[in-house]
Symmetry: C6
Subunit: 76 residues, 6 copies
């Protein structure tokens, strides 16, 4: 991952912030399992597993806290 | 999800903030499993599973932290 | 849930704040599984399951962070 | 629990703060399972279960964040 | 644990802060299971269990948030 | 671990901050299971386990909150 994939935590809207949080959650999986082939295989299973979907949603929630704070909650 | 579903984190009351947190938790599942049909099937199972209900409640709790902070805890 | 059940995050004491956190954790389960009958059945099982009791305690802990911050930790 | 068990989040030292966090984690279990007899039985099992010990340690960690913030990290 | 084991959350460096977080995670287990003999037995099992190693790492991460904040992130 | 492996929480970019968070998550596993041989064996299993990949991603997310706060979210 030599390319720049995270230049900033700023986003224009809360919704884009949520999308960035989703991306960060996926990158967190990717750095642990770099093989796209294996990730795709695992994904085919876990997106049918309610427990793992909820766990994924939780990781997004944690990243969204960070992104929201970085954007001062898009208050202004 | 091209439409705007999260224009702001501000809500008029803490209760509406809790409802927004619930919505964010559900969107977090939706972005991982976009098929409504599969989600409905999984939901029929997990809403009878105490562990997964508690896990869902936890994701809501994390998002509620964010929404509450964004609203300065509805102090004023 | 059209009635107002969360008018404010302010409580007079830390102890009442903890009680509010407990209530929020329960509401988080309720919004996912609205049937009181099913929740009662699940509860009869999970309150004998140490893992789920600890998980419940964790959700309360997360909400207590929010409520405590909202009350400026009852410092004054 | 009509008696006062949480008059304040202030403690004299970080160590007493950690003890308060431990107490809060236990109260979180107690409010979900009020029967001391059942809790004692469950405890006999879970304190031999590494996963549940780590989960308990995590709940303490979350409460310790709250207590530490309430005491301004005992900086002064 | 009558002796003082946590006089302060201040550390000289981030690395010492991480070590303190590790210690706090262990104390959290210790207060729940005070028997060193049982803990040693459990440890022999769980340090070969990837899920429990990751869970341990998570508890350390939560405590590190607290210790880092207490040290103002060692900014100065 | 007598050498210095964490001199600072400051990084030049959010992306380097994410990499530091990943490193911290790994160190958290390492301090619990110091044997590289055993960790490698466990890793061969858990990087094929979706639940553990998501759990690893969560630990990274928690550390990223800390690193992002330490860098004032790379705002300036």
């Amino acid at each position: 991952m030599a390319e720049t994939w995270l230049p900033s935590l700023r986003t224009a809207t809360p919704q884009e912030g949520f999308e960035l949080a989703t991306k960060l959650a996926r990158i967190g999986v990717k750095v642990t399992q770099p093989s796209a082939e294996i990730r795709d295989k695992l994904r085919a299973a876990y997106d049918h597993d309610a427990g793992q979907l909820i766990a994924s949603s939780q990781v997004i929630a944690i990243h969204f806290q960070t992104v929201a704070a970085a954007n001062d909650y898009w208050r202004t």
